[in-house]
Assembly symmetry: C2
Homo-oligomer: 353 residues x 2
DNA sequence: CTGTTAGCGCGTTCAG
DNA sequence: CTGAACGCGCTAACAG
């Protein structure tokens, strides 16, 4: 990064004479209004009986003093905060960012705060996140799970957990996911329908249900089309693998696919770059299908055919599921499955003779 | 979105017999280890004298009980939390997401938590965010400011504030920004150097220093190149304006520019779409320069010439500045200015005869 | 309708 | 080196 920096300092000291006042407390405004703290509390929260006269006076004083309730004190007392925890794989990825945005929308309407954390798909960081939320006495947590330890920790303490985007095998937990099997199937069948017989899958080397589902769908799609399943056409790459592009190159060399199904937006991007660098034409030499529509896919030429998923809605639903669970801790586990949609663009075409 | 949904519910009740235990407290582990709570506190925080024997015992018990300190109680006691507030314009925008990622990196190394909020460039939401952080007793807040009320509120209560990406006029505050003037100047001079004389600026209708700087730079660039400044070639569009593309169309119709400098990544994207929809060739018919390099700019054909800014570093520096301020509340105000860099790609070319 | 009392869990005196 | 006492700010019970 060509980023030098200049430090310029103004001569005046920071916050000159401005003496810092302690935040006003309930006791302060009670005293000022001539009532007890309890009455002040009732007035400001609108709970319990308070005479109109007292309420008006209290509200006025609170306003004048710029009263802001101390969240810690309240949480300590109620043993439960209004902050919902969210832990996603990678805040920098458009998909997770959008997911978080959807969650926040719903939460904020219900007057909850959201605190997002990123594990880097490291179970250890996920657990650390769980501890953070435990420490904050979050009533619930929404996450794209990587291991089951975090969920276990949380639920053992009575924290509601909702899984989003993927589920953990063997964990009975509220969840909202995409019908990945169907997405994978449609992708494979679309390519097969164009005459491709050597269709590769680019996936992530994990035990996530999301990738497993896409792989399953891919196999089913091939079968439906009467195509054999060829192990060598399936490349599963560990997250953050430094040789991701090398693996894709190897696939091209050894598998000679005419169609590639990249099971997430990142892999689609990497594949796209590899194809371009090699001077392979899309779709004449290789057809490409992605999973999870992101802006660049519609901007490149040709546009990328993709299995689109309702990402924002995924987040919204997860938040609603959590709110539901907060209201009824003993409800039956619910799993919502949202449908993806194949969007055909120019990156897929008939196989060449 | 073509997303139907299926609700499938498993028959078992949620959390069957699993009784929810109350989280262990300091008192619990003290009792278990045969000491007082004070000693337990000292042992677990590593502050004050504790015999090795007691410490070992305490640590073991804490571990066994899965002790997680109650953040609220701690914050209440210390009157200051470890959560730093961050408020940005739009979490969905790659730029702000990356900014937040940079901030989090540094904060987490210093053992602080980050809580991100998005105002939608609404001063009211920004103020609401400030109140949230006040309520949480955040020691500091980093923000891309929209109004001065939030900053005022925060600082009146002794909360450290750092502005990032843009500054507010008249507020004496730590900040880290890009040299926008230089960025704008380089963009304009690059276009002028290619022979363009009708160079348009697409900016945001705000009083932000970022856009003002880019506009200033643009004017200076024109002047350096001996070109006149033409008011009609400057289009400043309100945020979230529904007729953004119409305004760009109008610019094309009425200003007939051969070069466009779009002052942020969103405007560059909109401009790109308008040009494409009109069938205008880049750069033969119109040259395009963006500000803030994002992935699609390198993927489209031709690639977009852009003023790149060190976004992640911007966030990192802001966090460091905040940490510095937390350590020394009376230090002199510091403003760091990072340098952008012009990256020339195919979207700019010589003006056509 | 209102005030008093008590305690949420922790860290920080201050005696021992 | 350790424990007892106290209070951070708030709200839920309970009398009045």
């Amino acid at each position: 990064m060509g980023a030098g920096s200049v430090l310029s300092a103004s001569p005046q000291p920071h916050e000159p004479g401005q003496d810092v006042v302690q935040p006003a407390t309930l006791a302060d405004i009670a005293r000022e209004a001539g009532t007890s703290a309890s009455t002040a509390s009732r007035a400001l929260n609108g709970r319990g009986y308070v005479s109109d006269a007292a309420r008006d006076r209290l509200l006025a004083v609170a306003d004048r003093l710029g009263y802001v309730p101390n969240a810690s004190a309240r949480t300590l007392k109620q043993r439960r905060s209004r902050v919902v925890g969210v832990v996603v794989s990678d805040l920098g990825n458009q998909f997770y960012a959008t997911l978080a945005a959807g969650i926040e929308q719903v939460l904020r309407e219900a007057d909850y705060q959201m605190m997002v954390l990123g594990d880097n798909n490291e179970a250890s960081e996920e657990v650390e996140g769980a501890r953070t939320f435990l420490a904050m006495r979050a009533p619930g947590v929404i996450m794209t799970p990587v291991g089951d330890r975090a969920t276990g920790l949380l639920r053992a303490q009575g924290v509601a957990v909702v899984e989003v985007d993927r589920r953990l095998a063997g964990v009975d937990c509220d969840a909202v996911v995409i019908d990945n099997e169907r997405g994978g199937r449609e992708a494979a069948m679309h390519l097969a329908g164009l005459g491709h017989t050597r269709i590769a899958l680019l996936g992530v080397e994990t035990d996530w249900t999301s990738d497993a589902g896409r792989l399953d769908g891919y196999r089913t799609g091939l079968r439906n089309a009467g195509l054999p399943f060829d192990e060598r056409l399936v490349v599963r790459i560990p997250l953050h693998s430094p040789d991701t592009e090398a693996r894709i190159e190897a696939l091209l060399d050894e598998g000679a696919p005419t169609g590639i199904f990249a099971a997430n937006n990142t892999l689609a991007e990497r594949a796209w770059w590899v194809l371009r660098r090699r001077g392979l034409r899309i779709p004449e030499d290789v057809s490409l299908v992605g999973f999870d529509d992101v802006p660049w896919m519609e901007m490149v030429d040709p546009g990328i055919t993709v299995v689109e998923q309702p990402t924002l809605e995924l987040g919204r639903r997860a938040a609603r599921l959590l709110l539901r669970r907060l209201g009824g801790p003993t409800l039956t586990t619910a799993v919502e499955i949202l449908q993806p949609r194949l969007v055909v663009r120019g990156s897929t075409g008939p196989v060449q003779a």
